[in-house]
Each structure stands twice: as structure tokens, then as C-alpha cells.
């Protein structure tokens, strides 16, 4: 179980995961901190290019992006009306202001640029590889170990959860907004907790049997190749370009 979001063999897939982690961080910061329209559009264009380089599957990518845009609906409901300024088009009695609309648009571009950039780089490595890369870049060992174990046991527990949901359904449980539903959900969580803790003891025992002494070993054979150097240089140029656009 390696958890690839978008398996494949593109240029982006062949980059060192350590470089990708740094790239996501840098590109997210660039997008999140851009204050001008051109800078935000530059970040979005870059993210689109990365997505193309990584050959991201369009369908699932669009679906993931729509989840990101959920928060933006909320922003669009308020911002155009709460920013003072020159009135723009009127919508059903309420008049949106031009600066408000511009700000909402700017935020939309920024959010999508950051999310698409992250999808392009994260989606082209397995999550386990990324965790090992984070460890090599200095992430705490305990944190990385808990992350990997959580990923593993989330899969196990979600199967258990599906089974319990089915058991509820068989017993004619119909969720609604009432105390019975909430109590049932609480018991469901309680059972998951009890079984989870019991499983943790078995997992711990199994780890001890295999010589666990508190060190958690990671499977990583990263090599920084010529392609990675090229990518790093290209990224540095793009980043300084974006930063320059931000300054004006």
C-alpha cells in the first residue's frame, strides 16, 4: 500500500520527492502571498504547467479542485458586498463593489494556483515516498512514523467502519437529527475507539517481536539526478519571476 494519487511515468514522477516537497512549499507560499493580479495569474499558469507536466488525470483533478473551491463559495457570498468602494453591478437589490469583486477573484485564482500546484507535485509521488522524503528533510521521526501508521490503519478502520454501517443498516437504522441518531453515532465511534486501541496493542506487540526499539526505519533510496538539478534551477527562475511580479 503506497497510496499513489496519480500513478504514471511523467517527468514529474521521476523527480526526487524531496525536491517536490520543497517545490510545493515554495509554490504554495508564492500563490498564498501574491497580492497582485498578474502575480496570482502567474502562479496559476505555473501550476497548470506543472499539472500538464505531471499528466494529471483531468477528471479526478477537477473533482479534487472543486472541494477546494467549496470554501470560496463562502468568500464570494460575503466579500463583494463587504469591501467598501466604487459600486459595481447590482445583484438582486444588493450592490457589489468593484474592489470587492476584484478581491474575491484574486483569492479564487490564488487558492486554485496553490491547490493545483500541490496536486501536481504531491499527486505524482506516493504518500509513503513523500513521508520518507519529509523525514530526510528533517521532519521529526515520531511525527513521520505516526503519519505512516495512521495512513495504514485508516484503511483498516474505514473497512471496519463500513462493516459497522452495514450492520446498522441491517438493523433498520435511519439517521436523522435526533438524540437516537447522535447516541448511535457516539456508540459507533466508541466501538471504533475500543477496537482501535486493542489493535494498537497487537500492532505494538508485533513491532516489538520484530525488534522495534524506538527507531522507525524508512525505505528511501533518493538520488538527486541531473533532471532534479534542472528542475530546481527552473523552479528557482520561476519563483523569482513570480516574486518580481508581486513587487510591482
Amino acid at each position: 500500500m503506497t497510496c499513489d494519487l496519480n500513478p504514471g511515468r511523467s517527468v514529474l514522477h521521476r523527480l526526487d520527492p524531496r525536491l517536490k516537497l520543497l517545490a510545493v512549499t515554495a509554490w504554495s507560499l508564492l500563490a498564498a502571498l501574491s497580492r497582485t493580479g498578474p502575480a496570482a495569474l502567474f502562479a496559476l499558469a505555473g501550476a497548470l504547467a506543472f499539472a500538464g507536466l505531471g499528466r494529471l488525470a483531468p477528471g479526478p483533478t477537477a473533482k479534487r479542485l472543486s472541494a477546494v473551491n467549496f470554501f470560496l463559495v463562502f468568500i464570494w457570498l460575503f466579500l463583494p458586498f463587504s469591501v467598501p468602494g466604487e459600486p459595481g453591478p447590482a445583484l438582486g437589490g444588493l450592490s457589489a463593489t468593484k474592489p470587492g469583486l476584484e478581491l474575491a477573484l484574486l483569492l479564487t485564482v490564488k487558492v486554485n494556483a496553490a491547490a493545483l500546484g500541490a496536486l501536481a507535485f504531491f499527486g505524482t509521488s506516493s504518500v509513503t515516498q513523500l513521508a520518507a522524503a519529509a523525514r530526510r528533510l528533517g521532519a521529526p521521526e515520531k511525527l513521520t512514523a505516526v503519519f505512516l501508521l495512521t495512513l495504514r490503519y485508516f484503511h483498516v478502520l474505514s473497512l471496519e467502519y463500513a462493516r459497522l454501517r452495514q450492520a446498522l443498516k441491517v438493523r433498520a437504522f435511519r439517521p436523522g437529527l435526533n438524540l437516537h441518531t447522535l447516541r448511535t453515532y457516539a456508540n459507533l465511534v466508541g466501538i471504533l475507539l475500543v477496537r482501535g486501541v486493542d489493535r494498537a496493542e497487537r500492532v505494538h506487540a508485533a513491532m516489538l517481536c520484530r525488534g522495534y526499539t524506538g527507531r522507525f526505519w524508512f525505505h528511501d533510496h533518493f538520488r538527486f539526478t541531473g533532471l532534479d538539478w534542472l528542475g530546481a534551477v527552473l523552479l528557482a527562475i520561476l519563483l523569482s519571476g513570480g516574486a518580481a511580479l508581486n513587487a510591482f
Binding site: R64, F78, S82, A145, T150, F154, L157, L193
Partner: protein, 205 residues
């Protein structure tokens, strides 16, 4: 609700990241090597529990159970919630990397605070304090998270004030539901596995 990437201002992002790092360091120090599987399983349970949606008429909210998480884990709520957000970020693309610090602190800060206080109350007063502790931890954690989320949005710029207020208010019904579910879940654990709510089973029966 957590805030998306690219909305908050730089100083807020940096402040959230610093606070979250402090909490993470404290939480990780608390986790011994032998606690890792348990922390991971609990993280996985809470991540699974967030698949449960409670429908409230026109909108539905998924369970967070940060209050229960705080009661079970104390300071370790920081690493566990951080990992939950990271997984959501990587797998589902909610939130994002730059807001990770802010979102972690907004959720884990209240969880750890209410959890530690709740555990102290349980150790001192025994199980008769359990209903009050679980209601307060379950609801209070969400209310405080709501306030912190609204503050981080509101402090990012005057123009966000209205959106921030609405975001804070949206936490009210969620807090009520969380308080009740936490109450029932603590009742369940008290009957089935009372040792879970005290670190060494030190809660008096």
C-alpha cells in the same frame, strides 16, 4: 471549517505556524516510542469518525470530536490533529500547506486545553464529573475553534469581517451536536473501557 490556502495574510499564517510548532513539539515530547501505534490508531479512528455526517436540514456537518480527542490524548492532540489535516490536505485537498499551521492551532489548541482540563477534573472528581466534562469539552472545543477561525480570518483584513462573523456563527449548531455526541461517547467508554479516559486508569469509579 478550515480555511483554504491563499486567503489569510502573511502575519496570520506565520503566527499560526509558530503556535502550532510549539504545540507539536510539546505533544511529540509527550509521546514515547511505545505510544506511537496507539497514537496512530487513535488518529485513524478520529479520521474515520470524520466520515460520519450529521445532516442538519439544509446542510450537513461531519463529526470532528476534537473534544473527545483532547480528553484521550491531551497535548498529543497536536500531532494527531496535524496528521489528520495533512492527510486531508494530501488526499482530499481541503485546506493546504501554508494554512496548515493556522488550522492545526485553531483545532488542536482548544482540544488540548479542554482535554487537559477535563482529564484533571475527572481525576479529581471522578466519574460524577463526566457529564459536565464531556459536554464542556465537546462543545467548548468547537466553539473556541470557531472563535479562533473567525479571528484568523477577521484579523487578515477588515474586508473579511462579515465572512468571519458568519463563519464563527456556523460553528454554533456543530458545537451543540459535538457536545451531545461527546457526552454519549464518554458514557459508552465509561461502561466499556473506563481505563481509556485516564492515562493509567486513574479515574475513580
Amino acid at each position: 471549517m478550515h480555511i483554504s490556502e491563499g486567503v489569510l495574510s502573511g502575519p496570520i499564517l506565520a503566527g499560526g505556524a509558530i503556535l502550532a510548532l510549539g504545540g507539536l513539539a510539546r505533544g511529540l515530547r509527550e509521546l514515547r516510542a511505545d505510544d506511537l501505534p496507539r497514537a496512530a490508531l487513535l488518529a485513524a479512528v478520529f479520521f474515520t469518525a470524520s466520515l460520519i455526517h450529521v445532516s442538519m436540514g439544509f446542510f450537513s456537518a461531519h463529526l470532528l470530536l476534537n473534544g473527545l480527542l483532547g480528553l484521550l490524548l491531551g497535548w498529543a492532540a497536536f500531532p494527531v490533529i496535524f496528521i489528520g489535516l495533512l492527510l486531508q490536505g494530501v488526499l482530499l485537498q481541503y485546506g493546504g500547506l501554508t494554512v496548515l499551521g493556522v488550522n492545526t492551532f485553531n483545532m488542536a489548541g482548544p482540544a488540548a486545553a479542554f482535554g487537559l482540563a477535563g482529564r484533571a477534573a475527572l481525576a479529581r472528581f471522578g466519574w460524577r464529573a463526566a457529564p459536565a466534562v464531556s459536554l464542556l469539552a465537546g462543545g467548548g472545543t468547537i466553539l473556541f475553534s470557531g472563535v479562533l477561525t473567525a479571528l484568523s480570518l477577521g484579523l487578515s483584513g477588515q474586508e473579511f469581517a462579515a465572512a468571519a462573523a458568519a463563519l464563527g456563527l456556523a460553528h454554533l449548531p456543530v458545537a451543540a451536536i459535538e457536545a451531545l455526541v461527546t457526552l454519549f461517547a464518554v458514557q459508552f467508554l465509561r461502561q466499556v473501557r473506563p481505563g481509556l479516559l485516564g492515562r493509567t486508569g486513574d479515574v475513580r469509579p
